[in-house]
């Protein structure tokens, strides 16, 4: 099995390529991206002997033909604008996908295509059902750029699957990824000392552990799992709960002030909050993962486990950063309960000495 992995310039694509290269059932792995990977990723890819082809979107056809790949893992769908801003992001997501699928369609050697998608495709609104299954259409068109891209990309993939029914096509809708290594807007958000939230909103969130996401993507490439799958950890954390688990303090902000705050965050270069993420922090999003578990036969870490691992791995509980550490809270509780018990004994002893004795 020879694999072409797109999007190796970013964490997910590079690590998938490295894992695939190490997999016993996979032969040659070739990476493709519009720009060369940054040095740590570059070194990892070199170590696993993954050659990287860089070029524009239309160059993917040549890269595909030269690599001799029979399987394509399309990870080149980015959720946050990079250097080129939103225009470049859209270019890469949409044109990149169209060019790749066009190349696959005319190729006689490609027999499997795995596409990285996102649960952002469902949008987030108050009119949505509580839990999305793979077949639920979004009730309102999402207003975030990434969500729009993802919907469009999935449309092209469906068209491709229709025209080439002989090719196994898998779409993996990934929930927001967390983990000690994950570096996303959301992980930076939870690392802030005080976390801005939306007043009167406590959205339900779901995460997938980065390692589990990679593992499932490897399986999607190596095994045959045609179809569309929600990839998320079971269970739910509400935002306030997640913030407390991370030992942070929430600062509620009224909904109209949200756009201004996002602009401020952008101006201060603290991160990039898109409409996708703002809507997520207002309405939340939960997906059904039954299809994934049944088809892949494995169960990724639950949302809570994944998040706790992220909190531990990042050392978010370190004293300097945590406002409310769980052990501090427990110690306070213990002291209070202990003090109360003593007080209770003192009160009850004169009244009933024999009893107090036994209690002690």
């Amino acid at each position: 099995m020879r694999v072409l992995v797109t999007g190796v310039g970013r964490y997910l694509g590079a690590h998938l390529a490295a894992r695939l290269a190490a997999h016993p059932r996979v032969g040659q792995v070739t990476g493709f991206d519009s720009a060369a990977p940054p040095s740590p990723l570059r070194e990892m890819l070199d170590e696993h002997r993954v050659p990287v082809v860089t070029g524009e979107a239309r160059d993917v056809a040549v890269a595909l033909a030269r690599s001799g790949a029979d399987t394509v893992a399309h990870m080149g769908i980015i959720s946050t604008p990079g250097v080129g801003g939103r225009a470049a992001m859209k270019e890469q997501n949409i044109i990149g996908t169209m060019q790749l699928l066009a190349a696959c369609q005319v190729s006689s050697q490609v027999h499997k295509v795995v596409v990285r998608s996102s649960t952002a495709a469902y949008g987030a609104s108050f009119r949505d059902p509580g839990v999305f299954t793979e077949t639920t259409p979004p009730s309102l068109a999402p207003r975030g750029g990434f969500a729009k891209d993802v919907i469009e990309v999935e449309g092209y993939v469906r068209g491709f699957a229709r025209r080439r029914p002989d090719v196994i096509t898998t779409v993996m809708r990934l929930a927001p990824m967390v983990g000690p290594q994950a570096e996303t807007t959301l992980t930076r958000y939870f690392s802030l000392p005080v976390v801005p939230t939306v007043l009167g909103r406590d959205p339900r969130l779901q995460f997938i552990h980065l390692d589990d996401a990679l593992e499932l993507l490897v399986r999607a490439v190596v095994e045959n799992h045609p179809g569309t799958y929600n990839v998320a950890g079971e269970g739910v954390l509400v935002l306030s709960q997640a913030i407390r688990r991370a030992g942070r303090i929430a600062v509620p902000i009224v909904e109209p002030g949200l756009g201004a705050l996002a602009a401020l965050v952008r101006a201060l270069r603290l991160g990039e909050f898109s409409h996708d993420q703002l809507d997520l922090l207002v309405h939340g999003r939960v997906v059904d993962t039954r299809a994934l578990v049944e088809e892949f036969g494995v169960r990724p870490r639950s949302t809570a486990e994944a998040f706790d691992d992220f909190v531990r791995g990042r050392g978010l509980h370190r004293p300097a950063f945590a406002a409310l550490r769980p052990d501090t809270v427990e110690a306070v509780e213990r002291t209070l309960v202990e003090g109360m018990r003593r007080l209770g004994e003192r009160v009850s002893r004169p009244a009933d000495p024999s009893r107090a004795e036994v209690t002690r």
Binding site: V131, D212, R244, P300, A304, L324, D327, V337, R341
Partner: protein
């Protein structure tokens, strides 16, 4: 990655079993809450979590333990379950557990002892609750339902209204299944959905298994900040077929008000006249999942905020279905928000079975027939209940 088999068991535990244990945990035993939470929510860390919190529960167990000391006997779970009833209910009733060793004959009597003895334990419960809240060590289900918060905070507050203000009387509680799914279909009234809240208290307190009713709410509810989170945390979700069927398949008791805004926002002169039942989506959901439909008739909610008019332009500006004018609102400002203390009766009628009729779920004739049957049952029951309660404020 975990092995699917073991994880599947844990997932199954996510359902009713854990939830049934929870009340016990919330009222008394944080150690148990933490261990179930650990087993379920964060398996990987379970051991660590339990060991770090172990100290607090020990102290507490010490505190609660008594010379009689069956604190550690095997029937503890049963004891805890018995205690899971809300305190306000059990207060005054002799308790069946061995927490207080004093036999009934001992001077002072059991209840006397309770008053003096109970408070450290109560405060400990409260502290444990606060600790779980502050550290985020609690669980919500996929719809955002937070059973601990609901039982510890929401229900006790609502129970004050339920018992002392509206003096709710429940008839036919035996029609509520103790296990498995049921679809409660009720009449809707009262300008503000207080009837839905009172119905959830009734379902919780009148079922021996203390079931939580999962309400299906209008999208308006989920658009409004604060309200939307209160709704989600108390177990509501959007009234749509995917959510309804998902909850019913999970074996939950689901409550629905098919009249919607037509019912809750109707003029006072139309009180106790059932409005149209929409498309009957609830019937389809019940047929598809084979869930019995329990008609519920609520008398009393009509009088709490009698609507005598609606300021339509204002409602349009605010994006509301109506802007109510009652004898007190908006004339008397905040005073107008006070509901009138009507006397409430809630009757659960015999369930309408739907097993084995999944193929009828898309047949409009069948759906409308069943909807009419439910509607007729509720309407007739309402008339009967009104005869029992001639004076709304008795």
């Amino acid at each position: 990655m975990t092995r699917p088999r073991k994880a599947a068991a844990a997932a199954a535990g996510d359902g009713p079993t854990v939830r049934r244990r929870r009340p016990a945990a919330t009222t008394r035993r944080p150690s148990e809450a933490d261990s179930t939470g650990g087993a379920n929510g964060h398996r990987g860390r379970a051991a660590a979590t339990v060991s770090t919190v172990a100290a607090a529960p020990e102290v507490e167990a010490d505190n609660g333990a008594t010379p009689g000391g069956n604190g550690a006997t095997p029937d503890e779970d049963g004891v805890a379950a018995a205690r899971s009833r809300p305190r306000a209910r059990t207060d005054g009733a002799p308790r069946a557990n061995g927490r207080r060793p004093a036999p009934a004959g001992e001077p002072g009597g059991p209840d006397d002892a309770a008053g003096a003895d109970d408070w450290p334990e109560r405060v400990a419960d409260l502290l444990a609750f606060l600790r779980r809240r502050l550290t985020g060590r609690y669980e919500v289900d996929e719809f955002g339902f937070d059973p601990e918060l609901t039982e510890t905070v929401f229900y006790p507050l609502l129970r004050l209204l339920y018992r002392h203000y509206f003096r709710v009387e429940v008839i036919g509680a035996h029609h509520l299944p103790t296990h498995g799914p049921a679809l409660l279909v009720a009449n809707h009234s009262g300008t503000v959905p207080v009837d839905a809240l009172m119905l959830s208290v009734a379902v919780h307190d009148e079922t021996p298994t203390h079931r939580h009713m999962r309400l299906l709410g209008a999208d308006l509810v989920f658009r409004i900040p604060v309200l939307s989170e209160f709704a989600r945390k108390s177990g509501s979700t959007l009234a749509c077929n995917p959510d309804a069927e998902r909850l019913l398949r999970a074996g939950e008791v689901v409550g629905v008000f098919p009249e919607g805004f037509k019912g809750i926002g109707k003029h006072y002169r139309d009180r106790y006249k059932l409005q149209r039942f929409g498309r009957g989506g609830f019937v389809s959901a019940a047929l598809r999942t084979g869930t019995p439909i329990v008609p519920v008739s609520i008398v009393g909610a009509e009088e709490i905020y009698p609507i005598i008019g609606s300021i339509t332009p204002l409602a349009k500006v605010l994006g509301l279905p109506y802007f109510p004018v009652t004898p007190l609102f908006p004339w008397f400002g905040p005073l107008g928000l006070l509901p009138l203390p009507s006397k409430w009766l809630i009757e659960f009628s015999a369930p309408i079975p739907t097993v084995g009729r999944a193929e009828d779920a898309d047949d409009p004739v069948v759906v409308f027939n069943v909807a009419d049957q439910v509607r007729e049952t509720i309407q007739q029951t309402l008339y009967a209940l009104l005869e029992r309660r001639p004076d709304p404020f008795s």
